[in-house]
């Protein structure tokens, strides 16, 4: 009798537990979807992130106008400042997850921040969609099935540059080069990938010096004169955001770009707009998601129109990618027919999504979106009040991303460690 009672009690408890746990994962209709953004509102990355935040807000407004995700989960947006520092990014992410109960974290600016928050998101089974930071390390090793990358990673960007530079070097007879890259995760990984790929594609080219200005450097004069002293045939740069503005401004004032070719440096739409008057025409630049490359895609045309109407300016690469991140999440949720992060994660695996940059898909092995990198010549255009890229070369994701066998090898090596 006593055994029977205990069994009944256990059964009741089991049913209760099932109901409670079911209630926790099963979202009710009308329940808001808490969406987090961990971005650099202040600090080095603020220049790019402000546009990203504005684009996220626009996407959220559009989706909420139709009832939210699945038409029944209005999005509540929580934005936290990472201060472009990994420790601060981890704190912000934990706050977003534990206090604000977000189901997805968008961000970040700094790749070091993205790498730092990846395990936090994995621990709490929260989706993580980096849309600005692009170190390959985010998806290459320590793989997290909850992390989806919607920006061309540092390897893809490096490969795109290398393809262009190798062709130019052959044409112009260049033999030596130097590099200048910001001394942090993204700068280091981009520079290393570029150099390694150049060695493969143009083995005759010789790297004569590497320069590593610290992140946040305000005065590049000593770097400029030191590079000029080395007399390289060309220079490859990996400097971003406000550091890039300072670098470009000062290098121009030295007449640097007239003396030494500087192909393939990051000149995003932000720089094209901000330095409209001063940027040297004819520079060969690299960017990640220029809106003007895809004005034929209806989603992009509509986005540019809405962004311009709301903010009275054109969207940068960072705005485009954060906007795509929100809509990518929306499509994942629709495919999963649920806002449960574990189900959305599974639905996004290998999924093809509509983006402002056209139809793109997430690669199975690393959740990297098959997005393109763009190289072009800075030139004036009567359609815009700032220069854009002419002779635009779009290097497709599948042509530039790291081969799968190398990813498998990198992960095997990681396991051995």
């Amino acid at each position: 009798m006593r055994t029977k009672s205990l069994l009944c009690l256990a059964a009741v408890l089991a049913v209760c537990l099932t109901l409670v746990s079911g209630g926790m994962t099963q979202a009710r209709a009308g329940e808001p979807y808490n969406l987090g953004a961990a971005l650099a509102i202040t600090g080095t990355g603020a220049l790019y992130c402000q546009d990203g935040v504005d684009a996220i807000k626009l996407a959220v407004e559009e989706i909420n106008a139709k009832g939210g995700f699945l038409g029944q989960h209005p999005i509540k947006l929580y934005i936290r400042d990472t201060h472009t520092k990994p420790d601060s990014a981890v704190r912000a992410t934990r706050d977003l997850i534990l206090r604000d109960k977000v189901r997805t974290v968008l961000g970040t600016y700094s790749s070091a921040c993205a790498v730092a928050i990846k395990p936090v998101c994995l621990e709490y089974k929260v989706l993580h969609i980096p849309a600005i930071s692009n170190s390959e390390g985010i998806t290459l090793t320590n793989f997290s099935p909850y992390t989806y990358q919607v920006v061309p990673n540092s390897y893809m960007q490096a490969k795109a540059v290398v393809l262009g530079v190798a062709a130019l070097a052959k044409k112009k007879g260049w033999k030596t080069f130097a590099t200048i890259a910001s001394d942090y995760e993204w700068g280091r990984s981009t520079q290393q990938n570029t150099v390694a790929l150049l060695k493969q594609l143009a083995p005759d080219l010789k790297l004569i010096k590497e320069f590593w200005p610290p992140l946040g450097e305000t005065q590049f004069t000593s770097y400029i004169t030191a590079i000029m002293a080395q007399k390289p045939d060309f220079v490859i740069g990996s400097i971003a955001s406000k550091d890039n503005v300072a670098w470009m401004k000062q290098a121009k004032a030295y007449g640097f770009f007239k003396k030494i070719p500087y192909p393939g440096s990051l000149i995003s739409v932000t720089e094209l707009i901000l330095q409209a008057k001063t940027l040297d025409r004819g520079l060969v630049g690299l960017c990640r998601a220029p809106f003007f490359a895809h004005m034929d895609v209806p989603m992009m045309a509509n986005f540019v129109k809405a962004f311009k109407k709301k903010y009275n300016r054109y969207p940068s690469d960072w705005a485009v990618m954060e906007y795509d991140a929100v809509y990518g999440l929306k499509q994942g949720i629709e495919k999963a027919k649920s806002i449960d992060s574990a189900k959305v994660k599974d639905a996004l695996k290998g999924a093809t999504i509509d983006t402002t940059r056209g139809k793109l898909y997430f690669r199975d092995i690393d959740n990297q979106l098959s997005c393109s990198s763009y190289l072009g010549v800075v030139a004036d255009d009567p359609q815009y009040p700032f220069p854009i890229y002419h002779d635009l070369v779009e290097v497709k994701g599948p042509d530039s991303w790291r081969p799968e066998k190398e990813i498998i090898a990198a992960r095997a090596a990681e396991k051995k460690k």
Partner: protein, 294 residues
């Protein structure tokens, strides 16, 4: 290596040094005279850069916009310095160093938020004056003309401070206060007025340095943190309160940085900190400071 290129590197080191001198001279002066370690000094330098942006923005249709924006920004920051001294700093003259540091660090956070509220979070760009946007050639070597201006201002500020401290009665009083404020006070000279004057002067120079920094790159939050440590290194190496010390150590730090970039790019910052550590161990009062204040 080509001598002209070494010359170019030396000039770039000098320009870096002068920028550091402009920031560190006020810091050194304030600590030397008032014994106040103002951690917010670099943040006030940043306020100078933002103020320069505002004045430049208002005047940008005129050719002289930057030339007028720089002194106006420096004066505005001097005024902010006066308010800070009267409201906060004078209340902690007799407190221990950690308490002063806490107060001035709180100021860093408060000013950072006020900047955010006033100017927003997006970066500000100030166009350089047209006459300083092209390189000048010295011995065939291209030099950024704006940094020639920076070097000139650095030396001008040094000479003006030297003249003030060495040749004026008020300067003599300030120098005397560095060594014995009690003696100065005993002579019937009102120390609080001296302190206010010195603090405002130090912050005015910080504002001037910030305003000059404005057109170099973009003006953005967090810039102050990148320079504050180097400014402290300059003051430690030169000796707190020593004007020639600050000038010489600024040039040393600028040149060490510039030449290590040429020969050991990865170790530029490390060398400066090693140098600072050596000075702290061997000569804690700095190269030009006096043991009296150590």
């Amino acid at each position: 290596m080509d001598l002209s290129l070494l010359f170019a590197q030396a000039l770039s080191g000098l320009s870096r040094g002068m920028m550091l001198f402009l920031i560190a001279s006020g810091l050194s002066l304030i600590f030397g005279v008032m014994n106040i370690l103002n951690f917010a000094h670099a943040t006030l330098w940043l306020v100078g850069a933002y103020a320069c942006y505002t004045f430049w923005f208002l005047l940008q249709t005129h050719d002289f916009a930057v030339w007028l924006a720089i002194p106006l920004a420096a004066l505005s920051v001097g005024l902010v310095g006066w308010v800070i001294e009267v409201v906060l700093i004078r209340r902690v003259y007799d407190r221990e160093l950690p308490e002063q540091l806490l107060l001035t660090y709180a100021l860093v956070l408060i000013l950072g938020d006020l900047i955010k509220i006033t100017w927003g979070v997006d970066d500000k760009l100030i166009a350089r004056p047209a006459m300083l946007s092209e390189p000048v050639y010295i011995a065939g070597v291209p030099i950024d003309s704006y940094f020639i201006f920076v070097i000139a201002v650095g030396f001008a500020v040094y000479l003006a401070l030297w003249w003030f401290l060495q040749k004026t009665r008020y300067g003599h009083i300030v120098r005397a206060a560095v060594f014995s404020r009690e003696m100065v006070s005993a002579l019937g000279i009102p120390i609080p007025i001296i302190y206010t004057g010195v603090f405002v002067l130090g912050i005015f120079i910080a504002g001037l340095a910030g305003a000059i920094q404005g057109p170099v790159g973009s003006v953005t939050l967090g810039m102050d943190m990148a320079v504050v440590i180097q400014a402290f290194c300059v003051v430690i190496i030169g000796g707190f309160g020593s004007l020639p010390g600050t000038m010489v150590s600024s040039i040393i730090v600028g040149e060490v940085y510039a030449f290590s970039i040429l020969f050991w790019p990865g170790g530029a910052l490390a060398l400066i900190f090693i140098l600072t550590a050596i000075v702290l161990i061997v000569r804690p009062w700095g190269l030009f400071g006096t043991p009296l204040r150590a």
